[in-house]
Amino acid sequence: MELAYIIGLNQKKLIRTNNISVKYGEIDIKFPNINLDYGGQMLIMGKSGSGKTSLLNILGGLLSPQTGNVLVNDTDLFSMSNNKRDNFRGQQIGFVFQTPHFIKSLSVNDNLKFSQYMSSKVNQPKIDMLLKKVELNHLKKSSIQNLSEGEKQRISIIRALVNQPSIIFADEPTSALDDNSCNNVVDLLTNLSQENNTTLVIVTHDKRIKDKFPNQINLNDF
């Protein structure tokens, strides 16, 4: 596999990782190699402390691995300068977290617009279209602080999509939600990423969503 990877015999993938690991003090965590197609969906499961979030942060270029490399769209994330990596992330990657954080001083619309501004892609019609899709258009001018947790999570999914990224990484997006909201959020994520031809990677320990994704990696197995 190593040789095939080097000489490029594999089919062209959006994400490829090669022998990545992280070290927390004395603990070394090694991760399986990941190969994910364009438009594909993957669920990464694992119990607490298995390194799910660390893996997601490495894949998203937020955390440098101890060893190995990560190729996104054939670009080695960690051979880039910090500035270029920030810019690449803004253009190619969207994130959804368990607790959605926003710029509290800005309105819903300005938060989404600021996401576009950071990757130089300001496109108000795209924001309007996505807001309509999640039926939150009426909250466009509201302060982000006035939204419910469910509304915030939906806005955070839109924020991940406003720049039309190639990949969305979602870190425990459903852990704090009830069953109904959990299903809604997963459906929204999968549907919107399919519609936008965006690759979706979810890391979670939430077994409720296990059956929705045929392509899975369980970090407990490594």
């Binding site: 607790t99 710029i103 509290k104 990757s119």
Partner: protein
């Protein structure tokens, strides 16, 4: 967008941002106020002091003599006999010697007995309406007196004895307005001018006093006046003679001659005013140092405010980084917050400084008849504005570095 973000971050934290702005604007206000007061005081004092080379008056305080006879804000030392200063009118080094006689006022505007040269030679004044005074009890009034007291040609009024607290009016001697002066922006705008003879006629004491110690106006025995007494100019008194030289050599000879005489004292306005300003300067410097101290505190407050704000916003900042914001963009947005605080603080400080100067000017105008203004500007204010903004931005550097060093992965791990 980045400007909007920085601005919104400030206005959504009104208390902490407000404290920084209030501290900054207070220090700017004190600096501006001191600066404008000193500037106007220096300019008014110098511009009036430079009009007269020497004030010859009664022995006493030189500064008081200058303040009273040139600036018309203090009381006279006493009177001098005209015959004792006769030599000044004939001296070859003297370009002009103009006697003045003080004693009365009308609604806090001093009535000065003098001759028309006081208007034309010292203040380059001209008549806007009417004529110069020609007969006794005719007056020419300054532009502000006419405007403030609504006096016009032909109007009459009675002078009050003294300046501050008057015990009585000279009801037998109505002054009549015959002329109104063009505005000059100088002290003459606030004066009522008449002939020396008018003053002597109103105050014809046995010793032919032409003026009075204004401090003791209450002691003045009105009933001892013999209003019908003819005054003899030879024996008459004046408060002072304002002298201008026509030769640089006069500076070295005339004050000496004057001071040798027992009853006379020469005071050079330029020197006295310089000494006065030198006396005031340290007090103003203390105010400057105090305001710089407040300035320092306000900068510290900006650092603390923004650092606290960074703590509150670390998840926001992490999310911005996750969303592709470069550390440079984050750094700039925080520096911009310092810029806005500096800008608001300095502009509000400048506005406050000018407004308070305006209020003080009204008081000074009423109390001393001196035209100060809140609408006077100094080029240093522009320097102050830029300096404050620069310092506000500099103060934001520490919080910006804190944001720059933020570990996104660790921050998000703690709250995802």
């Amino acid at each position: 967008m980045i400007f909007k973000l920085a601005w919104r971050n400030i206005i959504t934290r009104p208390l902490s941002s407000g404290l920084s702005v209030v501290l900054l604007s207070s220090s700017i206000m004190v600096i501006v106020l001191s600066m404008l007061t000193m500037k106007q005081m220096r300019s008014k004092f110098n511009e009036n002091a430079n009009k007269i080379d020497l004030v010859v008056g009664a022995k006493g305080s030189r500064l008081q003599s200058v303040l009273c006879n040139v600036f018309h804000i203090d009381y006279p030392n006493g009177n001098i006999k005209l015959k004792e200063v006769d030599f000044l009118f004939k001296h070859p080094f003297v370009k002009s010697a103009i006697p003045i006689s003080l004693g009365d006022s009308y609604k806090k505007h001093r009535i000065i007995g003098t001759n028309p040269n006081f208007i034309t030679e010292i203040y380059n004044g001209s008549i806007l309406k009417g004529n110069f005074f020609n007969k006794s009890l005719e007056v020419v009034i300054g532009a502000n007196v006419a405007a403030k007291l609504k006096l016009d040609i032909g109007d009459s009024f009675y002078g009050s004895h003294g300046i501050e607290e008057s015990t009585h009016d000279h009801e037998d001697f109505p002054y009549r307005v015959v002329g109104i002066l063009s505005p000059t922006g100088e002290i003459i705008d606030q004066l009522i001018l008449t002939s020396l003879e008018s003053v002597w006629q109103v105050h014809p004491h046995n010793d032919k006093k032409g003026s009075f110690d204004l401090k003791t106006a209450e002691e003045h025995d009105h009933h001892s006046h013999d209003h019908k007494t003819e005054v003899s100019e030879n024996n008459s008194e004046v408060t002072a003679v304002l002298v201008n030289y026509n030769s640089p050599r006069a500076k070295f000879s005339i004050p000496g001659i004057v001071n040798q005489k027992n009853a006379l004292m020469g005071a050079e306005p330029a020197i006295e005013i310089k000494q006065l300003l030198d006396l005031i300067e340290p007090a103003v410097n203390v105010i400057y140092v105090l305001s710089l101290f407040i300035f320092g505190i306000s900068l510290f407050s900006i650092v603390v405010t923004l650092l606290n704000s960074m703590k509150d916003r670390k998840y926001e900042i992490s999310m911005m980084r996750v969303g592709g914001a470069s550390v440079r963009l984050i750094f700039i947005s925080i520096i911009l917050e310092g810029f806005f605080i500096g800008l608001i603080g300095s502009i509000s400080g400048l506005i406050l400084g000018h407004s308070i100067m305006g209020i003080m000017a009204r008081f000074l105008n009423i109390k001393y008849n001196y035209q100060f203004s809140g609408l006077v500007f100094d080029s240093l204010e522009l320097v102050l504005l830029f300096l404050t903004i620069l310092i506000g931005m500099t103060a934001a550097i520490f919080p910006a570095i804190a944001a720059y060093r933020l570990d996104i992965s660790k921050t998000l791990k703690n709250k995802t």
